[in-house]
């Protein structure tokens, strides 16, 4: 009897593994599609509009102060931003928290030089179908989505560098 239940549990687990992951009905955010437009208030004191960044390679990073991997990734993004800023690459951080106070506090302790946008009503997060935290979307100079990174694994910065360099060569 115990063997049967064990087998069933294993089957349930493997079925769940093989079952397709939950995807949104309109799966429009994929490589090759134009990046959805948005304008948000920012840490620069004035709103930042994505359209204004056309002509630059843009890295949009969705993050939250309560998310461990997001906080781990920030110093790496700061380094990337400093390294490639002069070569036509713009980094933009989108904070997804409804209450920006926690994020503002964290940024005071750990400041970054690239602009932070505040998506307080989650409109842009929904638009970009943020499915994991953090979430990084890399756009080319024409404003087309080219790479999507869900989550942060140590070593991802190498991937970001390779992809940025590939886009710079275009």
């Amino acid at each position: 009897m115990n063997a049967k239940i064990s087998l069933l549990c294993l089957l349930a687990l493997s079925a769940a593994t093989l079952a397709p992951r939950a995807h949104s009905a309109a799966d429009t955010l994929r490589a090759g599609a134009p990046a959805p437009a948005f304008a948000l208030n920012s840490s620069l004191g004035k709103p930042v509009n994505l359209a204004d960044l056309k002509g630059q390679i843009v890295l949009v990073n969705f993050w939250a102060s309560w998310c461990g991997p997001c906080r781990k990734e920030m110093p790496i993004l700061e380094q990337l931003s400093k390294q490639y800023k002069a070569r036509g690459v713009t980094l933009v951080g989108v904070n997804v928290e409804p209450d920006s106070a926690a994020a503002a506090n964290w940024l005071k302790a750990t400041p970054v030089s690239f602009p932070i946008l505040f998506d307080v009503d989650s409109k842009v997060s929904k638009l970009y179908q943020v499915e994991g935290m953090p979430n990084t979307v890399i756009l080319d100079r024409k404003g087309t989505v080219r790479y999507i990174h869900r989550g942060y694994q140590p070593g991802a910065e190498n991937e970001y560098q390779d992809q940025i360099r590939a886009l710079m060569r275009e």
Partner: protein, 79 residues
């Protein structure tokens, strides 16, 4: 164990398997960017494992019941 109970358990198991496969197209109703409360320490099923292990040991040494005291998952859903 009686045949009926065995059959019931098998059916429950099969239903679970079917449900898991059938539920795949359902969209997660709490988005990753909405999980700020779930990520807080007070919402963790177990904040301090060393303390929880100890107090469970104190109870189990004096009581007849044992088991099913775990809590898995929750939290911030990062990565």
């Amino acid at each position: 164990m009686s045949e009926r109970r065995r059959l019931t358990r098998l059916l429950v198991g099969a239903a679970a398997v079917a449900t898991l496969s059938a539920c795949a197209p359902i969209e997660p109703w709490v988005k990753p960017y909405e999980r700020e409360h779930l990520a807080e320490t007070v919402m963790s099923f177990n904040r301090d494992p060393v303390s929880a292990t100890y107090i469970e040991h104190v109870y189990e040494s004096r009581e007849g019941a044992r088991g099913a005291t775990g809590g898995v998952g929750g939290g911030c859903g990062c990565n």
